[in-house]
Symmetry: C2
DNA sequence: TGTCAATTAACTTTCGAATCTTATGCTCTT
DNA sequence: AAGAGCATAAGATTCGAAAGTTAATTGACA
């Protein structure tokens, strides 16, 4: 009843997911059942199922008899993730541009319009983009890919994008470098897609992804925020 | 104690997986807990965790409050799976050929040798390839890709291959058409890879995958073996 | 005979105490 | 002091009965 999903474990899954993506659970932090059951007011079983699903999504890792912890971040993994996204997202965008129908076009234009009208930085906290902007941004990119008819490729691309959001969350000073025209990049991307220019759209997307990753790497400390060494302050 | 894995749920997961891939559990068949706990001599909880993981792998599907069932097969899904494999496996093979080291070469040659010396058809049952051949075949392809340094792309490609095995299992008269030189295709693939000719290797792999899929489609009945319409004979 | 509500049956989901595994701290020996 | 062995604690995994949900059956009524 208290859960937000249709089934109890569903609700815990979604809340855990949001807490990880929202940075409330630090990469590397252990996820102990005593804590989890208290925090989410649920049973061991439900928490366990939620965690098992998050492992499949790549947000949590687990080892036999050693429990679960939030997936840690690393430069090496960011590099691999970025390359995988370059290849797969550009492929899926090509297919989307080729096969997307009119409804897809309309949804993409709408998502872009929403994105342009959503404020990038909050007035009180200029270090992170706003939650509203982040979700509009995700919706725009997701909408661009959604024309792809191949469910499997689409799901793969979407999964990679979601994993990448973790890195965005933990790059504290993201979005303040003045020499980047994010809005322009998005506009160009949309234009190419609507003009059905698959090659150009794919190329723009590759640049967009590579540029963002470049930024994260240059901004990040040597070992990104990662609680695996300092598990918890013990009393 | 009775399980084959390190943890109880692990064991059930692996046995269920084998039973699905081995065709002992029919695509579309419902997986009820009363049956499962009897068959695998385990508890509801362990079975549930195993099933949750299989859902992530794409071997099982689930709906809220309606339990689990073996993933059903369809022509449409086979077409999507095949296209995804064409694109992603050829990409990963390119990377593997580019980046694979000497150990990778040695393993690939070894796997190929094993494959050539493993009998294709059993003497008593000429309708399916032997289990030994199937696993040698999987090991050869897996070995070819293993040079890829990008764990994420490699895992994606491997996952797609494994899903495709399901379709092979259910194409009853696979492998009897005389006009195909499987051994030759494998040899050419290995040669191109060892010669570090990424373009040629990728092209050969695409042909190999497409050829196999073509065969499955032409051989399969309109609606492949699928128990979703005829769940179980009820008494 | 066909439709609909109520009842029953079958199954899925949930729970939390019992069991087992791993980690931690302590003591004793070399 | 360093290390091995033991005792204790913390936490992960497992179990199966209770609660909740969906599907099937029955029976009443038009």
């Amino acid at each position: 009843m208290t859960g937000t999903g249709s089934t109890r474990a569903d609700g815990v899954y979604q809340r855990l997911r949001r807490d990880i993506l929202g940075g409330r659970l630090v990469p590397g932090a252990r996820l102990k059942f005593p804590d989890l059951t208290r925090r989410y007011e649920t049973s061991v079983g439900a928490a366990r199922e939620a965690l098992t699903r998050l492992v499949a999504d790549g947000f949590v890792r687990t080892q036999s008899n050693q429990g679960f912890s939030v997936m840690p971040l690393s430069h090496e993994d960011l590099a691999e993730l970025t390359y995988a996204r370059l290849e797969i997202e550009s492929l899926v965008l090509r297919l989307s541009v080729r096969d997307g129908d009119l409804a897809w076009e309309a949804a993409a234009v709408a998502a872009h319009h929403l994105l342009t009208r959503t404020p990038f930085l909050a007035q009180d906290d200029a270090s992170h983009p706003t939650d509203a902007w982040s979700s509009a941004h995700a919706a725009f990119h997701s909408g661009l890919l959604a024309g792809c008819r191949n469910h499997r490729l689409l799901a793969t691309a979407t999964g990679l994008r979601e994993e990448a959001e973790l890195y965005l969350q933990w790059s504290v000073s993201f979005g303040r470098e003045p020499d980047r025209d994010l809005a322009g990049e998005h506009q160009a991307l949309l234009d190419a897609a609507m003009a059905r220019d698959a090659d150009r759209a794919a190329e723009l997307l590759r640049d967009h992804i590579a540029h963002t990753a470049q930024l994260l790497i240059s901004v990040a400390t040597d070992e990104p925020n990662n609680a695996s060494q300092t598990p918890l302050p013990h009393p």
